[in-house]
Amino acid sequence: MTRLSRRAALKVAAASAVATLAAPAILHAQVKTVKITTWGGKWGDIMKASVLPAFEKEFKCTVSADQAFPFLPKLQASSKSDPLYDVLHTNSNEQWMAVNEGLVMPKFTPKEVPNIADVYPYAVSDKIVGVSIFTSAIGLGYRTDKGLTPPKSWKDLADRKLDGARGGYLIPVNSLGQAHLMMLGKLYGKGMQDLDAAYKALEQLKPIKMVDFTGQMEKMLLAGEVSMGIIHDSGVLRYEGQNQPVDFAIPSEGVMALEQVLAVTPGSKVKELALAYVDFMLRPDIQKQLSEGVWYSPSNKKVKLDAKYDARLFNTEEKVAKLIQPDWNWYNARKDDIDAKVARLLKG
Amino acid sequence: MAQSGRPPASIRIDGVTKTFDGQVKAVDDVTLDIEAGEFFSLLGPSGCGKTTTLRLIAGFETADAGRIVVGGQDITDLPVHKRDMGMVFQSYALFPHRTVAENVAFGLRMRGLPKAEIAERVAAALKQVALDGYEARRPSQLSGGQQQRVALARAIVIRPAVLLCDEPLGALDRKLRQSMQFELKQLQKELGVTLVFVTHDQEEALAMSDRIAVMNAGKVEQVGAPSEIYDRPRTRFVADFIGEINLFEGAWSGGRFVTGKDRTLPAVTNGARSGTGIIAVRPEKTRLVGEIDGALGGRIETANFLGGQVLYRVVTDEGRAVLAKEQNVGTSSRKVGDRVGVAWMPSDAVSLEA
């Protein structure tokens, strides 16, 4: 009897093996495919549910969207003449690494992407590779139920009252932590590139709870494990209306921009579609939909947001003036030294 | 109740050589004739080539040279599984994942016999080794002696023409070993099978065998019945290996065997003999006498009481130690330090090949 059931088990295993091996044989018709990277979470849900289907329908193509990190190493490993992605969507710091390796094209012309005529200047500034389609603002998230006065300055994070309830990031792996380090140089030293002043200021923030994902910072704020922490506005604003005792503050010194950047790979075999996709993402209707979905500030000046979003997001000339764009090209060149220095600094 | 359905086979090993790693000659030009139905032992110290010879017969090793003929058929190039021989290992080599009955049935199953016949023969074989009732046990649930019986039953149930045993009793304690020796001998007679038995234990070989081949360094030193091997060793190695013995080196001259300072020892000669030689005398063939002519004079150094016998160690006037064994008849008054003479019948002194 054991013998029979064993045979049955083997049969099942063999059958599933055959089934899975046969699965990839999906027929690729003449339809072109544009390969992109994109975020997961709520953003990914909206993309999959409506944005990408709309694009596919309009341009009669299919979109293969990779949501699985890490994008850059995968792109690096693939051939430049036949890249794994046509459009790379990632944060600004990674785009700088990509462009320096020749993996993406540095700029778009209005002819290639007509909608960039309507974007705020920061979205195509010299701090940006390709085009920034959205931005978040890195500022301070805080608990409203701990008797704290809402922070007005970045320096408020150093308040000794916050010892044990202060949140930051592992600088080597998180770009918010890196941006904050540059901000410290500006606050306490000669400017964003004054690393010595930044290191000294960072030491003053000890003890500080360090995480690697912004999602973890959100949860720590919600759970009350930290009372104040560095976070992007969208990570706090998304809880608006859910009765959570958290809020986001814009320090007087300004906020750091956390841009969502699109760039096209030079070896793309479907460059027209790739450019069309970038242009599509800048359309006011798409911008509005995603912006209100995940609390990202749109790049397109023509987007009209609903009042609730209009009140908080960076969507006027006046408001975008508060955005400080880090020089990632400068930072990336020093990243290894900074990582080593920071690791020593925070050890004790 | 002979169970064997087939006549026993003779074995002829003809000039067989086996070399390992291209250097060591484990078996060196060995020729043996084993008669059908014989209990034949391969005896020798470890490394003498006895096990390799057995494994050559079984087919686990292939000979570099020579032929092996069993029952008139040349099997030198026949694979193991077609040789139809039973094999019993020192480590028993039972199938640990099978029951006793399944172990014994294995060879019959390989032969594709009908289930009913297998069951019948397994039951009979287990009965033969007094293990009926143990069918459903696993080998790990049996004692060493019981495991060896299973191994035996497994080997004989296929009614082999030849049964090969590689130190089968080596792992058993002394008492069990003696009763198993007897049982194995009984079984061999009942089955009438040709049995080749490898052992390093001379007592075991002497007690069980019809004939013994004493091996040393890959070669056969002597083949013969136990009494022949014991009483008439042909070489110094055989004499030394089997039991206790007194060896005297000397020279043949004028029909006498002379040793040391012109001392003649009792030995049978044919007069024509000359040159150096060795004679050997078993302790039990010597007698302690008074200091008479022709006896080796000396002093008793030790006396070991063995129960039925007393073993004396006598140091002769030439300074040589001689062992002498006397029956304990209850009248002996010899003690350590006594002067005695050691003598033996000339016919009890064996002349060895140098």
Binding site: A13, G40 | R154
Partner: protein, 267 residues
């Protein structure tokens, strides 16, 4: 006096075992609490009990697709790595191959390399050879790191294997093929199966190698979970972990029932 010493030893023994057990099981307990707690973050003490995270997990198309893929891949890896691993082990232990030691080290080497490098290397090979990233590539990658487990456990059994048992079988009339199936295979089976279970779990939990080898919409569960975590760190992750643990455990138990893990050879 000796009785008192024994008691003290006993107390120390149980305390140490208790501590080790707690150390091993505490993370699981925390995951369980997180999975059943209604808040989207870890709160202690838990504010209630809910199955909403399990509902969210099972209702999520991405999770379900990836769970199913992970199970299928792990099943194939189980089959492939046991066959390959057992054959390699037999060849290495029995084949009298020149340089068997070096070969063993070679087959074990995927364990020494950081898996992320293995994944990256495979990814490049697949892309450069133009085959893309088919599921069999993923299976191959997992098999590569799973085979050493089967190899190790099988070699361990073979090291204690009395080859006379096989000789006995052949002297009883079993041809080499029958010796293999009747004796060798049943005796090395506990080692092969133990290795196979490792292989299944190694594949089911595999993250670094999968990271590069999965396709969009063809991700395995650990990859989906990792990416989910970057955006939505909530109880669904904990629920997914609980489900994975239960799945892995049931596969182990199932294999144990069906094929039998009980080692009848003393190892």
């Amino acid at each position: 006096m000796s009785a008192r010493r024994l008691d003290a030893g006993r107390v120390a023994y149980y305390t140490l075992n208790g501590a080790i057990l707690t150390f091993l099981l505490l993370p699981l307990a925390i995951v369980a609490v997180f999975a059943l707690n209604p808040t989207p973050y870890i709160s202690f003490p838990p504010v209630g009990v809910t199955l909403r995270w399990f509902e969210k997990f099972f209702a999520n198309e991405d999770f379900m697709r990836s769970l199913w893929l992970s199970l299928r891949v792990a099943a194939m890896v189980l089959v492939l790595s046991t066959v390959l691993g057992a054959m390699c082990a037999l060849a290495l232990a029995r084949g009298r191959l020149p340089g068997a030691g070096i070969l063993t080290a070679f087959f074990m080497s995927p364990l020494m390399l950081p898996a992320i490098l293995t994944g990256l290397a495979l990814f490049q090979v697949l892309l450069l050879s133009g085959v893309g990233r088919p599921v069999w590539g993923l299976v191959m990658g997992h098999t590569l790191v799973a085979v050493p487990y089967v190899l190790r456990t099988t070699l361990a059994v073979l090291a204690n294997f009395d080859t006379r048992v096989e000789e006995a079988a052949s002297s009883l009339g079993a041809s080499p093929v029958r010796v293999f199936f009747e004796v060798t295979l049943p005796l090395i089976r506990p080692g092969v199966i133990a290795g196979g279970i490792f292989a299944f779990i190694v594949s089911f939990d595999q993250f670094p190698i999968s990271l590069f080898l999965v396709l969009p919409k063809g991700e395995t569960l650990p990859v989906v979970l990792f990416n989910y975590m970057k955006f939505d760190l909530d109880g669904a992750i904990a629920a997914a972990s609980m489900v994975s643990i239960v799945m892995a455990l049931s596969v182990v138990l199932l294999l144990e029932r069906v094929i039998g893990l009980k080692a009848y050879v003393k190892l």
